[in-house]
């Protein structure tokens, strides 16, 4: 059975259905049902996935698309792709539920009414593309999804966003297109220079041997991914886009779309251009460390909740990129796990911030105060999401941040130590935000805040449950991720570290 | 000798071009455009004679047909503009800018 194609087809057909039904309510319910079906299908697929099997890309489907240029419709998943697809399909139903009234125009402080059906149809289309981009095993197909994802997101920001939405949407689109076009050049050059007559990723591994060519092509891919991720200093589109996008779209933008950047670095940059990757490692690690510290410091100074969360993400993307380019088993697995965990923790932060903004009609931190007194559940969940963002042990982000840092420390101790100061800054930005918004005397404007209603609790509960479960028991995810990362690193051929003092009974536990 | 015809053609074309550039009245500009077209026609016919084939003459007919069509549409536009703006000056019809 063509599992992956089905996974993409269901939401696309669902989107058509959603845009055809008569009532808005029915459209929402249908969209939620479709996304749940996709979730169940992914669950079935994940259950059949065998992380230790010799086949790298499982559930593979390859059909000719443009035979003349060796372009295929090629999909398949390994452990890395699987967990990211799982992240996407878990987030989409939650986002749909969270965005229930976002386009209605109801509520005292809600944005004006816009087409509800279009919004939910766009969400489903985006879901299909997110699955496609992670599942692509053909570089050209990956590029197509990589660029096509911009379209639904552009409309979600541009039509459903805040006051400065068109500025943010255009900035997002142009920035991403700029990176994407560089990548297109590199993709074509890869095809031409490799002379393999195909765009299939597994066949292109090791095809480019010349160091100079590798460096140029690496640059083409890397800049696209660095813009997408976004890495310092290509980051300024993210705070604008995330702050202007509706909360649900911001979750998918920061939680999943940006992961395509770091995913691309891990999959394409490292494996297609191993020598260039090693050559550029110092540069990338410096950029990452700067991003970690810089993002955190700028986050501390923000006065807008959503911008603050966006800057924390820039800091977190620094961790992920550092983990990818540290090229050790621990750091690589940690970075992959971080992509997933960051989706959940930042996703829940954005969604709860969205609930707050829906109640108050402002995203300025100064407009809140003492929310904990009137809405304890809301404040409590916000705190848990925040604590996950500052990677408190026992919550999911800790495992990944710890693995990234320890893995980086194995061969690059100094950057790892500098990056570790990020944990202090993270405590400052999260707790100061919480202090300003949730504690102290209750502000006049929040006196009448209702606590989370049933729908909102259903949005937050699964996220918190995942955050805590992975925090204490990350093994199921790591068991899927580890073999895939090891395979990637074996392609790059890096030496793993050995402890300074060897254990006589055999190293490690 | 065909040189004189060509010189005449060039002179007529130059007169037409200068007319298009310096006159403001749309009708006069239009007539100058016709003058340029006819200067071209003269050149075509001259070359047809010089080379001893009919290609130039055929082209001249085409030009005349195009010119006739142009006159119809162009005059119609000028009349419409005159009706709305009470002026036939080309400088007054400058809406399509920036």
């Amino acid at each position: 059975m063509p599992w992956l194609s089905t996974l993409m087809a269901v939401p696309v057909l669902g989107a058509v259905g959603v845009s055809l039904v008569k009532s808005d309510k029915l459209a929402k319910q249908l969209a939620l049902a479709i996304s749940l079906v996709v979730l169940v299908l992914t669950g079935v697929l994940a259950a059949q996935f065998n992380p230790t099997s010799g086949t790298r890309f499982q559930f593979a489907e390859v059909y000719d698309w443009i035979p003349r240029f060796g372009v295929h419709y090629g999909v398949g998943v390994d452990g890395i792709a699987l967990v990211l697809i799982a992240l996407s399909v878990v987030l989409v139903p939650i986002v749909i539920l969270a965005s229930w009234h976002d386009a209605d125009g109801t509520g005292a402080n809600a944005p004006p009414k816009r087409s509800v059906k279009t919004y939910f149809a766009l969400l489903l289309v985006l879901e299909a593309m997110m699955i496609g981009v992670f599942a692509s095993t053909d570089v050209f197909l990956f590029y197509v999804f990589f660029e096509a994802m911009l379209i639904p997101m552009y409309f979600m920001i541009g039509s459903y966003g805040g006051a400065q939405r068109s500025y943010a949407a255009v900035k997002f689109l142009l920035y991403s297109l700029f990176g994407g076009l560089l990548m297109l050049v590199a993709v074509i050059a890869l095809y031409v220079i490799a002379e393999k007559g195909t765009f299939m990723f597994p066949e292109l591994i090791g095809a480019i041997q010349d160091p100079t060519t590798q460096k140029w092509l690496f640059a083409g891919f890397f800049i696209a991914f660095a813009v997408k991720a976004p890495l310092w200093p290509f980051h300024t589109w993210l705070p604008d886009a995330a702050a202007q996008a509706p909360a649900g779209a911001a979750v998918l933008l920061v939680g999943v779309l940006d992961k395509v950047g770091t995913y691309g670095m891990l999959r394409f940059c490292l494996e297609l251009f191993p020598d260039a990757s090693k050559f550029f490692t110092p540069l990338v690690i410096v950029l990452s460390v700067v991003g970690i510290i810089y993002g955190a410091i700028v986050a501390i100074g923000q006065t807008d909740i959503k911008r603050l969360i966006a800057y924390t993400s820039i800091s977190h993307f620094g961790f992920i990129a550092m983990g990818v380019f540290a090229m050790t088993a621990n750091a690589g697995a940690g970075a992959t796990l971080y992509m997933v965990n960051h989706g959940f923790s930042t996703g829940s932060l954005f969604l709860i911030a969205g609930f707050l903004i829906y109640r108050r009609g402002s995203s300025q931190i100064a407009d809140y105060g003492g929310v904990q007194k009137v809405a304890p559940v809301l404040a409590g969940t916000f705190l848990i999401a925040g604590l996950s963002s500052l990677s408190l042990p026992g919550l999911s982000s800790f495992v990944s941040e710890f693995m990234v840092l320890i893995g980086t420390y194995e061969i690059h101790p100094v950057p790892a130590i500098i990056a570790t100061t990020g944990v202090i800054l993270a405590a400052v930005y999260v707790l100061w935000m919480y202090q300003r918004m949730m504690t102290g005397p209750t502000a006049e404007s929040v006196k009448l805040f209702p606590d989370l209603d049933i729908r909102e609790k259903w949005v937050v509960a699964p996220l918190i449950a995942v955050i805590i479960a992975v925090g204490f028991f990350p093994k199921p995810l790591l068991d899927v991720i580890n073999p895939a990362v090891d395979k990637t690193l074996s392609t790059v051929q890096v030496d793993q570290f050995t402890p300074a003092v060897a254990d006589k009974k055999g190293a490690g536990q | 000798m065909t040189t004189h015809y060509l010189v005449l053609s060039a002179l007529l074309f130059a007169i037409g071009a200068v007319g298009v550039l310096v006159r403001r009245n749309a009708i006069v500009v239009f007539m100058c455009v016709e003058l340029m077209l006819n200067a071209c026609n003269l050149a075509f016919v001259t070359f047809a004679r010089q080379h001893g084939n009919l290609d130039g003459q055929i082209i001249a007919f085409f030009v005349m047909v195009v010119a006739a069509a142009e006159v119809v549409i162009g005059l119609a536009i000028i009349v419409m503009i005159f009706r709305t703006r009470r002026s036939a000056s080309v400088d007054d019809a400058n809406l399509l800018k920036y």
Binding site: P393, E410, T442, P499, G508, Q509 | V29, V90
Partner: protein, 633 residues
């Protein structure tokens, strides 16, 4: 030196289910937090029941441990794989960890029971008990973990619980700020601990105690010194040692039982635990050990000085905690000779400090939450049980002969004296200061004239609060003699931390001991003349430079503010400005340049037909000219 015994995997008996110790209070916290207002009526009983059950498991594990021969008294209980290939969840039940577990659950239970009465009027009592349970669970994970990663989870869990409890009255901005400060300062310490764990991992390829400690001697001295200093940084954060002490005094914003829990049973003891547990590393890094002792002595003096000037009864006690933990650090830095005294003092301190804090809470309970000792005075007759138990705790902490503190503190001072004369005499000086500030506290609170506020009607607290006080004071009297005499505790701990080459003999009337007693007596008498016999003004006098110095916490906060906070704020402001104008400015500048250029080029489209015609002509001329030129070439 007799080294610790090897860790033996173990899975049966009570020890096999010792994880219940952690899980029960954790479950309690989860139920209380998730159930919402439904459990408001009986939630506090659930909280108490969970921690009592945990105590029962701890006692049963302790009994089982005692039943084993000495060389088998280190049991590893594997639970599950945490990070495959790096860290597993597992517990280590040995004399050291079980001593802590008994202290945490035992004193913790009494504090829970006391809180039923203390928090009876608070609408959020259920949430309070949830956090208390969480605190106990995290602390137990910290001390029972068999590897550094699991320890770190408990370590930060303690930080989280303290954050929640210090900021329990969130509506007070000062409480919220204090909670944040505690967490952030602790994070600075955690940074050190994290780097220490990284270094341990890269050095030994493992983070499990059982794997790394036997190899400690093979690593290079530089590495071990670095690990030791980094662990010390972590310990300083959690145990409020210099230079990370500033959070402790602000932490008094939390309800009083929280202070008792933080100071007596959990949190601040974690640093001492970490140093003693990592003894194997410190023993091969003398430099790190020296720094530990110096930090300990500096803090014990600083805490005592701060405690001497505070009028807030809780802050006075907080200063005393800093000081007493300083003693423990000093002992822990000395090595195997000091470990047993450090832990013994930690345990007796757990009792008398909980006693003192809960006593202070009882006083506040009767005095409308007044904390200023200048508004107390003459309370002895109206709250006799509180007063008597408080005085027992007081006598224990100043080292009154034959009470708990006498044995354990004297043990530390004598060991320090043998180790290094200077450190020893400084520790004696600290004991004298303790005598002064604790006497001052007792005289100002229970004796002298009544200086009560007009609406104060002091009364004795209910039995649910006084019974824990009585139990704690019994511990404050007898525990020290029980642990120290005959080196009972030192021998008990030996399987976990080893024994020194020669066992110390406790003798009454040594030079250091007599000097200590004399200084304490001088301090107490001085306090009597200043605060017992003389009238205490209701408004604090300006005092000397030294008093101001101590009142302002030795300018620790001012120092942090000038050195870290202000520059941090400037840096933040600059970074935000740089991001908006610099990085984003560059991007938007590029966009603006393109926009501006096209705006200028656009002006060519004048709308005048004749200018268009001119440009066409010009273009045509250029093309013809070019063609002619090319044709002639």
């Amino acid at each position: 030196m007799q080294s610790p015994v090897e860790i033996i995997p173990h899975s049966s008996g009570v020890v096999g289910v010792s994880w219940l110790m952690i899980v029960l209070p954790l479950l309690g916290a989860a139920i209380l937090l998730l159930s919402g207002r439904r459990t408001d009526r009986w939630g506090h009983f659930l909280g108490v029941a969970m921690v009592l059950a945990s105590f029962v498991v701890a006692v049963a594990s302790f009994v089982e441990l005692l039943g084993l021969p000495e060389d088998q008294r280190r049991m590893g209980v594997a639970l599950y794989q945490f990070i495959p290939g790096m860290a597993d969840m597992g517990l280590l039940i040995d004399p050291l960890s079980i001593s802590f577990a008994l202290l945490i659950t035992g004193v913790g239970s009494l504090i829970h029971i006391y809180s039923i009465g203390y928090m009876s009027h608070d609408p959020d009592r259920r949430r309070f008990f949830a956090y208390l349970n969480l605190f106990v669970a995290a602390m137990l994970l910290l001390v029972l973990a068999d590897n550094y990663v699991a320890l770190f989870i408990g370590w930060e869990g303690v930080g989280l619980a303290s954050y929640l409890l210090i900021g329990f009255w969130q509506h007070k901005p000062s409480a919220a700020a204090a909670a944040k400060k505690a967490f952030i300062v602790n994070r600075v310490g955690d940074f050190g601990l994290l780097i220490a764990i990284f270094t341990i991992w890269t050095t030994f390829g493992s983070v499990a105690f059982a794997k790394v400690f036997p190899l400690a001697g093979e690593a290079s001295n530089g590495t071990m010194t670095a690990v030791g200093l980094l662990l010390l940084l972590g310990a300083c954060g959690k145990s409020a040692q210099l230079p990370l002490q500033s959070w402790l005094l602000d932490a008094m914003e939390g309800p009083t039982p929280v202070s008792a829990l933080i100071h007596a049973a959990t949190m601040v003891t974690a640093g001492v635990y970490l140093i003693v547990r990592s003894g194997a590393f410190f023993e091969v890094a003398p430099t790190a050990q020296l720094v530990v002792t110096i930090v300990g002595v500096a803090t014990l003096l600083a805490g005592a000085i701060i405690g001497s000037a505070k009028d807030d009864i809780k802050k006075g006690l907080a200063g005393s905690t800093m000081s007493q933990i300083g003693y423990m650090m000093l002992a822990a830095g000395i090595g195997p000779a000091g470990y047993a005294f450090a832990i013994a003092h930690l345990i007796t301190h757990g009792f008398f400090k909980a006693n003192l804090f809960l006593g202070a809470g009882s006083v506040m309970h009767g005095m409308n939450d007044e904390v200023d000792m200048r508004r107390y005075g003459g309370l002895f007759p109206v709250m006799r049980i509180t007063a008597i138990t408080f005085i027992i705790g007081y006598l224990a902490i100043i080292g009154f002969p034959l009470l708990s503190g006498y044995f354990t503190k004297d043990g530390i001072i004598e060991t320090a004296m043998e180790h290094n004369q200077i450190l020893g005499w400084l520790a004696v000086l600290g004991a004298g200061l303790t005598g002064f500030y604790m006497s001052r506290m007792v005289f100002m609170t229970f004796f002298g004239k009544k200086r009560w506020a007009d609406d104060a009607h002091p009364h004795e607290s209910p039995a649910v609060m006084t019974v824990p006080l009585i139990l704690l004071s019994i511990g404050s009297i007898f525990l020290g003699a029980f642990l120290i005499l005959g080196n009972r505790f030192m021998k008990f701990l030996a399987p976990a931390v080893g024994l020194p080459e020669e066992l110390p003999v406790f003798h009454f009337g040594s030079t250091a001991g007599l000097a200590t007693l004399a200084l304490v007596a001088v301090g107490a008498v001085f306090a009597w003349f200043r605060y017992g016999a003389a009238d205490v003004p209701e408004v604090a006098p300006r005092g000397s430079f030294l008093t101001t110095f101590a009142r302002r916490d030795l300018y620790g906060d001012a120092l942090n503010e000038t050195l870290l906070m202000r520059p941090g704020q400037w840096l933040t402001r600059f970074a935000v400005f740089f991001d908006n104008r610099g990085v984003d400015g560059l991007v938007n500048g590029l966009a603006a340049t393109i926009g501006g250029t096209s705006g200028r080029l656009r002006r060519i489209q004048t709308g005048y037909v004749r200018s268009y015609a001119l440009s066409i002509l010009f273009g045509a001329a250029v093309v013809v000219g070019a063609l002619l030129y090319v044709g002639n070439m």
